[in-house]
């Protein structure tokens, strides 16, 4: 399955993601999920980014929280709402929110 996951949380939801498998996985960081793309704890990036997936971060939620695209981990691509719509319809068959 081609699965798009909206990750809206920084502390929760990783347990779900750890077990999910998909032939194509996209993780779209939104809301407080954006901290996975920007924040290091004890010098380490979020373990979420080690998952085999395409990563995106919603620019609007990024900037709302004081970050810019320059702060984003190189594995994560900043996207707009318009881009998200295209991801939903063109790249992933099923989409979930966690």
């Amino acid at each position: 399955m081609k699965l798009g996951v909206f990750m809206s949380d920084f502390r929760g939801g990783s347990d779900v993601l750890d077990r999910l498998s998909a032939e194509k996985l996209g993780i779209i960081l939104v809301g407080n999920g954006i901290y996975h793309a920007t924040t290091k704890e004890n010098g380490k990036s979020s373990p979420l980014l080690n998952k085999s997936a395409n990563f995106y971060v919603l620019s609007e939620d990024l900037e709302s929280r004081g970050f810019s695209p320059a702060d984003v981990d190189s594995r994560v691509k900043p996207v707009t709402y318009s881009d998200v719509v295209d991801l939903i319809f063109n790249d992933y068959e099923k989409i979930i929110w966690i």
């Binding site: 809206s8 939104v30 939620d61 709402y81 719509v85 939903i88 099923k94 979930i96 966690i98």
Partner: protein
């Protein structure tokens, strides 16, 4: 063009997940897609008329009015969820429907994509 069904349970005030749903709907409609928007639980308050804009709270009513005008956006609130919160049919914003949960499932039946945004 496709059809996106969005279900949302999050609060109008106190969570920005509902904002996400509305903004996503707006972006999808702008691209020519159809959107069905279902609100239940605390999200039903999004369909209440008379919402005032304050700087500390999300104000989505204007966006919704614009979305209804496109003809590509349908929004329906869970009737039981609204009534349980003391909010009745005559308090509903123009454009909104009120139905039972089977409406959401029927919308999902014919949707190309379904996104359920759970409660906070």
């Amino acid at each position: 063009m496709g059809k996106l069904t969005i279900g949302c349970f999050s609060s109008l005030v106190g969570s920005l997940s509902l904002d996400f749903g509305v903004k996503l709907a707006e972006a999808a409609v702008k691209k020519g897609h159809e959107v069905d928007f279902w609100v239940s639980s605390n999200a039903t308050m999004l369909s209440k008329k008379g919402q005032k804009a304050f700087k500390d709270y999300s104000h989505l009513a204007k966006t919704l009015t614009e979305l209804f005008a496109t003809g590509k956006f349908k929004a329906v609130a869970c009737e039981a969820c609204a009534e349980a919160r003391g909010y009745h049919k005559d308090d509903t914003m123009e454009g909104w429907g009120r139905r039972s949960m089977d409406w959401y499932l029927a919308s999902a039946f014919s949707a190309d994509r379904v996104l359920l945004i759970g409660g906070d």
